[in-house]
Each structure stands twice: as C-alpha cells, then as structure tokens.
Assembly symmetry: C2
Homo-oligomer: 272 residues x 2
C-alpha cells in the first residue's frame, strides 16, 4: 500500500512542490501517492482538505504525510487538526527567521509566486518574447539586447534552455544553431563577432545527440553517429579557438544547464 502525500498550499503550490520533490527523491518515490491541493486560502477549504487527509489515513492504514506552506495562522491551525503528519515550511523556518531578524513577517499570501510587481513580470514576458524571436537564429539583427547568445549544434538543448532562462530569470537569451556552413570557415560566424562577450556554447556526447536526433528524423544522415561526432567535434573546436566558454549538457537537466550558465557567466537575473 502506498502512503499518500498531501501538498497543501494557499497559492500555486510551487514552494511545497519543490520541497516535496527534493525530499522524496531521497527516498523511494514509488512508495508515495501525491495529492496536490493548491489555492487552499481559507479555513473552510482547509477543513475539506482535512477530511480528505483523514479519509486517506483510513484507506492507507498509515497516516499520510502532509507538506504545507501556509502563511495564514488560522489556516495552519486548521490543518493541524488532521490525522496526517504535518511538515509545514513556515513552521520550520519563519519562526527562527523572525527571531534572528528581530521582527515579524508579513504573513501575506501569494507573495512568492504571485504577480509581485508588474515590472518584474513584464521583464519575464519580454524575455520569453525575446527567446522566441531569436530562436534558432531566426533573427540576427539587434542582438545587442541579448544578455546571452547560446551556440550549439542542432538538438543540443539551446531552445529549452533559452526559454527556461527567460521564464525563470527574465534573462534575454538568443540562440544560434551551428551548422556545417559555420564550420567551413575559419573564424567565428561574422554575425556573432560583435557579441563575443555574451556567447556561450553547448556541447553534448555524440551518442546522446544521436539518440535525440533519431526521435526527430529516424535513420537520416542527420541522425547518424558519424555526423553527430563530426558536428560536436567541430563545435568544441570552434569554442576552444575563440575562447567561448562551454558546457557539456549530456547528463544535465534544463535546470542544471541554466543554473550552470548563470553561475559561470555571472549574468544577473532580471526577475525573481
């Protein structure tokens, strides 16, 4: 019998989702059944949640785990009435933090992943539009506005990384696909030359690249291991020749690629 895990939050549930994800990956995830309950922003809704939790306790024969990030004290009190085992994010951290800082917190809902200020929000939208306009070398003018230009061969992870950087950090990232033409010449593609300081390269193991390209265009020359080997070799040689910092993305998730780029380039995020 699986143990039910409840994720209770007053808004999006992102905080509690991240928290549960991080904690449960340290155990065997197969053992848990998750139930997400976002927007539980008043004690009445919490009472309904408590009934669900108690029903799961009866059904499972073990008390459910209840992870919550509720800022409102009445909501937290209401949730304590359940027969689940409660792990509350604010209980764990906000009290100690108030003590250290010598002041009360705001206890206001929706601050962490809400609209916040419109400006920061617009920065993110603008960054998404930027990433879409400058995806795959679609446009090459006015690259001056780019915080970053990602280089890489087809299917090395440029597009999802740019979109993630835009959505998560408000970073304006263009991307430029390296193709055989770019490798024929000796130098950096001319269009990139004025932007050397914002270039960053992606590389990938040929075997993994082949696997990804196979899904796209099975059994094509494009997806052949020989071609994948040649392109990645050329790309890395180009990075080295022009001092373009680069990253091998083979075993990295989009989040890791993005975090590593932010870390290595020192680009400042425009939005939180």
């Amino acid at each position: 019998m699986k143990r039910t895990v409840f994720l209770v939050s007053d808004r999006t549930g992102i905080t509690v989702d991240t928290m549960v994800h991080t904690l449960l990956t340290q155990f065997d995830e197969e053992d848990f059944e998750r139930v997400t309950l976002p927007f539980m922003d008043n004690p009445e809704k919490i009472h309904v949640a408590v009934q669900q939790i108690n029903a799961a306790a009866d059904r499972d024969g073990v008390p459910p785990l209840v992870f919550s990030s509720l800022v409102d004290a009445d909501c937290r009190d209401a949730l304590r009435q359940s027969r689940g085992i409660l792990f509350d994010f604010f209980d764990a951290f906000i009290g100690p933090l108030e003590t250290v800082l010598g002041r009360q917190s705001a206890h206001a809902m929706g601050r962490s992943h809400g609209m916040g200020n419109t400006r920061a929000y617009d920065e993110r939208l603008e960054a998404v539009n930027f990433a879409l306009s400058y995806d795959d070398g679609a446009r090459l003018k006015n690259l001056d506005a780019a915080d970053l230009i990602l280089l890489g061969v087809s299917r090395s992870g440029k597009t999802p990384t740019c979109l993630y950087l835009a959505l998560q950090f408000g970073v304006r990232a263009a991307n430029y696909p390296l193709t055989q033409e770019d490798f024929l010449g000796d130098g950096l593609p001319p269009v990139l030359q004025p932007h050397r300081r914002v270039l960053f390269g992606l590389s990938i193991a040929p075997e993994r690249l082949q696997q990804i390209r196979q899904q796209r265009r099975a059994d094509s020359e494009y997806a052949s291991l020989a071609r994948c080997r040649q392109e990645t070799h050329w790309a890395e040689r180009l990075y080295a020749a022009h001092g373009v910092p680069f990253l091998n993305t083979t075993a990295m998730s989009i989040e890791e690629i993005a975090a590593a780029i932010m870390h290595r380039t020192g680009i400042r995020r425009r939005a939180f």
Copy 2:
C-alpha cells in the same frame, strides 16, 4: 547596511532559491543582498564558501543568513563552521521524515533537479517542441496529441503559459488565438470542435490588455481600449456559450495561471 543572504546548494540551487524567495518575500526584500553559490558539492568548495560568508559577516557587521540544501553530511558539517546563521533544508525536514518513515534517506546529490530518468526528461523536451509547433495557432493538424488547448485573444498570456506548462510539468499545450474572424461566426471555430474536452480559455481585464498591447504596438487600433474591451467581451461570451472553462489572468503570474489550470482541469503532469 544590507544583510547578506547566502544560498548554498550542491546542485542547481532551485530548492534553496525557492525556499529563500518564499521566506524573504514575507520580510522587506530590500534589506537583503543575495549571493548564490550553486554546485558546492565537496567540502573543499564549502570551505571557500565559508570564507566568503565570514568576510560578509565582517563587512556587514551582522552575521549573514545562510540557506542551504546540502545532502552530503560532510558538506553540511563544513558549512556549520561559518559565522553565518544556518538554515538547512535537510536538517529541518529529512531527519523528522526518516523517523516517520522508519528508514534512512539516500543522501544522494542532484536527485531533485538533475536528469533523473531520461524518459521524463524527453517528455519535457517533447512538450516544449509541441508548444512551439502549436504556438499561436501555427499548426492545427494532429491536435489530438494535445493535453490542453489554450484559447485567448492576442496578448492574454497564452504562449508563456504553454511554455511554462511544458517545461514544468511536461504537459503538451497548444494555443489558439481568438481573432475577430472567430467572433463573427456563431459557433466555436470549426478546427476546435473535435477538441472540446481539452479547451481552456484565458481572459484579462481590458485595461491590462491595453497596457500590454501598447508595449507591443503603441497607439495602434489593436492597442486601443475600445478594441481590447470588445475582444475580451467576445471571448468571454464565446467561453460561456460553449462551456469552455476560463480564467481571468489579470492579476496572476504565469505560475499561478499554470497552477490554476492544472488544478481545474485535473491534467496529470508527465514530468516532475
């Protein structure tokens, strides 16, 4: 003098970033200066971090706050040597969780936002490709594969929402822009009719829509308040007439829109 806040993690820093973001929004964020230190995955790197923390303590005249999510016990021990005030995510939760579950956790790094299994990762990439292919009504064939089709007038938030759903949840979301043509007819646009069960509408306050459109095409008819009023009115009437669930996104962040859609539709995420 601002107080320095260190975010120390062994991998991407997403967990600790979310945690700090959520906690500090409950205080006055202006008071803090953040320093992010990802990929601190051995005690030697932690020693360097400790020196940075101690230097900040001297400079600020108050001990820095140190938020960490380190799974390795040696790393955690090393970090405890700093003069910062430590808030460790695993200290707070993993111990109590081990007690409840009656077993040890894996203490393995990079599990939460790493590659995990390749299949889940490919699901997310596939979802991003899907969102891009089916953005803004770009393609309308084979919509059968869509988990969701978002409807809305131009600039109501469809594209960033679809991309966020893809990256965060691996959900395949297409989007269809409602234009004046669609409002002339009586029914649902014919191309959408076979897909009623996956339709979801976005609406937005005309004033906010005008503001967004102004940034795009200043002083155009497209950005006029009259046009924004008319389009949003028509869109909501269309949703109501055809039983399409919808959301007013005016005061919502992308995260909130995505969470609300997941909650209301009950779509299951394909990736964590």
